[in-house]
Subunit: 333 residues, 2 copies
């Protein structure tokens, strides 16, 4: 540094000059704003970002449907069944548009999620684990509410695909995007967002106890219709839905699905935690685990990309994990 | 959502339309790029963001100093003594400018930090805990290298102040910024960046075992010159330096310093973890702890701001914490 006697004066203008000097060298520090911190005294809860995109889009489209609002749609409302994030997203999106939300949740849902749906002002019905669809159907018959499924609908899928659109806007010349896959709405939306761009899209799943139903379907050519796994990536235990399957597999908008072990997922989660400084749940670490540890994926990239390599985008979604669970997951690490 | 038969076609153009519909409703998802992940196979290490700002600025200014480069400055190099982040920041910034870096670290420094400084290609000298300054002086005499102190220099302070400048550019009409304070470079730089703007600047410290030397100095009117604390906010154990003290206290650019308990720090850290989904070390949680839990700060804001409240910016810095330490810190929570 310069001799202290010749230094710039210690003023605000000198800070601007300092910024000019170093700005090409440093990463811009992200500014975070938090609705949560702003409303700490209230009961606001976060919801998973991509679920909210699907929910907001579905509800906006419903409001635009000819006759729906005029025929008392807002009062009849919407209905969904979900054990968690989708329920919260619909409750939030409906409240912001002053639309009635009927939410059917299994009794076994986490008390925190049940509480947050209540606090959004939704009409909550708790039901047995295998009665959700019947219960939702009953609510629809009684109220005239419209069903919003968690992934198996065009408006939900298109809304969820907008996250990958923003990624493409911010990072030019991506070669590929790896997205997590459970019901498949996010992966199908991501694939649609890349259609015709040349960006390849891959799906990522946990493999434990057959949670890789998407991959197995991909390899056999037939959608798997039953899954039961206790993977630590509990956000990715669902089975791939009918409409996502059409987009992902039948329209060939996804090139391949890859699956990773529980150990791979924990390793990737630890990296995200310690290097990216982000708190994510195990499910969110699955795409990075594919990129770093899946030999089949890595071999494919090597063959396709050659020495130049690829710029790969990864979708990180899901932060539903507290300090307690982190301690439990890494006790053995 | 709209009746499925009337939905938009499932194409990329429809994803753009969906984005138009929802973008005012959603938080834009931040795009993260990681030098670390890009170089996973190599030995790259992260360094603390604000330390890097100070280091890059100091080194750029040195390169601009008339005669320094011409007189073999790059080969003679720079020297610093530091147990951690400043050492890493200087080693990185020097390497990027192809300048020799002589780093003096106490033998008791963490092996990870010693290793990372080595991997940046710096000349490393390990010394006894109380021999750092003598050891650095010896290096200077032998090599002709220039000393870059961790906070007590204008170029370092101005560089560190650029983070708050970016905050002001992104968030207009802030009423106040709360910055952590250890040696005081970041707080002093932040204060300079706000000079004349009307934005008030406050310092935040841990209070455990007298780590709040800045606050105690503020209250007594005299800089405290000895501090020894084992606060969990180990990034904030240093004592306030001479030049930062001038800026902070004598020039009255900081309105007040506030201190928080260990319990407050853990509570704020848990919130940052579970709600902002960010991994930070205890030191980084101190400013939020002031804003949320310090009665004196809160009373002051109530009096000054009235019912409208204030928009307060918080500087979060320091993520030097692994999954193991998180488990230890929250074992009792």
């Amino acid at each position: 540094m310069a001799d202290e006697s010749t230094c710039a004066p210690l003023t605000r203008a000198s800070v601007f000059n300092a910024h000019e000097i170093i700005k090409s060298r440093i990463h811009k520090t992200p500014v975070l704003t938090s609705r949560f911190l702003n409303q700490l005294a209230s009961t606001e809860q976060g919801t998973d970002a991509f679920k909210a995109r699907g929910a907001f889009h579905a509800i906006e489209k419903l409001k635009q449907e000819p006759g729906w609002l005029e025929n008392d749609g807002a009062k009849k409302g919407v209905v969904c069944f979900s054990a968690g994030n989708h329920a919260q997203a619909i409750a939030l999106a409906a409240r912001e548009s002053q639309i009635t939300a009927h939410i059917v949740m299994p009794e076994t849902s986490s008390p925190v999620k049940i509480q947050s749906v209540r606090e959004y002002g939704a009409n909550l019905t708790l039901c047995g684990r295998f009665e959700r669809e019947a219960c939702a159907a009953e609510t629809m018959a009684k109220t005239g509410a419209r069903l919003i499924p968690p992934f198996d609908h065009p408006d939900v899928i298109l809304g969820q695909g907008t996250a990958a659109l923003e990624l493409q806007e911010e990072v030019k010349e991506l070669n590929a995007i790896v997205s997590p896959c459970s019901g498949g709405g996010l992966l199908a939306g991501t694939a649609l967002s890349c259609e015709g761009t040349g960006i390849r899209v891959y799906g990522a799943e946990p493999e434990f106890e057959g949670a890789d139903d998407g991959r197995r379907g991909f390899l056999s050519g037939e959608r798997v219709t039953h899954v039961k796994s206790n993977t630590i990536a509990d956000g990715l235990m669902g089975k791939l839905g009918v409409l996502p399957w059409e987009i992902i597999y039948e329209r060939r908008l996804v090139d391949m699905m890859y699956a990773v072990t529980e150990e791979n997922i924990l390793d990737a989660m630890k990296l995200i935690f310690e290097r990216l400084k982000l708190v994510v749940e195990p499910a969110a670490a699955v795409p990075l685990a594919v990129v770093l540890y899946n030999e089949e994926f890595r071999g494919m990239v090597e063959r396709e990309a050659g020495e130049k390599g690829w710029d790969v985008g990864i979708i990180l979604s899901g932060g539903n994990v507290g300090v307690g669970r982190i301690s439990d997951l890494f006790a053995r690490k």
